[in-house]
Amino acid sequence: MKNKLIEKIVRIAHKANEGHIGSSLSILDILFVLYNDILNVESIRKNDLDRDRFILSKGHASLGLFVILSEFNLLEENVFNFCEFNSSLGGHPCDKLKFVESSTGSLGHGLPIAVGMALSNKIQNFNGNVYTLIGDGEANEGTIWESALLASHHKLNNLFCIMDHNHSGDRALNIDSIMDKFNSFGWECLEVDGHDHIELIRSMSKKCSKPTFILANTTKGKGIDFMENNPEWHHKSPTDEQLKEIIDKL
């Protein structure tokens, strides 16, 4: 199953000559678990006002999101149209696409929007939880920490912020002691292997009185050996030869 999804991501990126493959692969297990085990997908499909919501704050990994939405029949367009002129499937998600909760792309927007949704759910006595996925590089943005403060102050225990810790930020402004930081902001903090489905399910199912921060340790480019932890593949598409090599290996 997983190799099938990886192959799809790579084939699409090859066809479109576009897509952040490295991040799409590092978040693939997290997204799969979210849609397979955590979110109430039927409620999402029915567009209930009171529903679980997911925001991909690190919007550049949209290709990974679209492949997962397609897998769970939440995509009305052929995912292979990715980044075509008339497609709704862009290099960053747009909320005009059904089942995409928010447009993202500029980093540091998704988490505060998720905070607003979680607070709104509290105000309206809704039961739905709000999940958002940020990157470790994204945590350079001040709005991440403003939001951390807000979520804790308003006791948003219906909010889950998952960090795709694929070390993208290491080459610029590395965030040390991430767990300590979120902990000191008043969040429930859990650290998991971001590719281990059991650990992911446990962390995202845990109920507590605080907002939950999940540090998901991941590998950028996971599943394709020459892409793993190779920054060259942050935003690059495979050549015909590389595509053949990847498919052979998978």
Partner: protein, 293 residues
Amino acid sequence: MRKQLVKSVEKILSEDTNTVLLLGDIGVFGFRNSLKKHPNRAYNIGILEQSTISLSAGMSKTGLIPFVHTIAPFLVERAFEQLKIDFGYQNLNGNFISVGASYDYASLGCTHHCPGDVNILYAIPNMEILLPGTSKELDSLINECYDNGKPTYYRLSEHENDFSNDVKVGRANLIKKGSDATIICFGNSLSSVIESTKNMDVTILYYTSVRPFDGDLLLDNFNQNIIIVEPFYEGSVNFEVTKTLKDKKYSLYNIGVPREFIMKYGKKEEVDKFVGLDQKSINENINKILCRI
């Protein structure tokens, strides 16, 4: 105008349970009754304007109608990208209400001035821009469009016109009819414009809505000499005027806040005089224009 804002929003909060108020640690004493009466829908959210705008977008997406209020530069300039992407791009219902206008807080210096707000927000497609000239007009405009499904900016000032007009979003008012020029003025500049042109044979059009812009009234009152009086950066609404008058030949003159940092303190009236927006300066500038014609 702030007292009216409190009254108008308090009433809406009481009548419409889908509304929420978010204060950026500004106007907290004024809104004390709302904060007490609606603890789940009225918040002094803190001094974090960027996240406040995004947070309010999240609320808007889940069925609530936010009112966000703070001083103009922090609302517009600090949180510009959040207004652009979270509200403009996604075209969400939200109400952004500033105070301070261009330099109401003259004595506090350039950090608290915001003559660029109209020009800046005009760069965001979908963003409505409203400039009530009096408290009564504010009440009318806010009630007309707070729940219209769009992002809307309200530019409030502590300085009001001497009388109110019957205002509607997207509709301007014909104040006076004349033949030498058509003067387009905005928000709280109307009284100064009327006084400074009382002996002149000019048309005065009064706009409380920059977007949507009432091009029809301008076309109906077209004159080969168009003078725009803007109590914000000069030329901020030129595009709407030139777009409306695209097939016409005319001369265009701007009287507004110069595009420079105002390195002065003092009172708003002193800055008006310094930048040429007091009654006497407006009169002299319009006279000069009419003499050149």
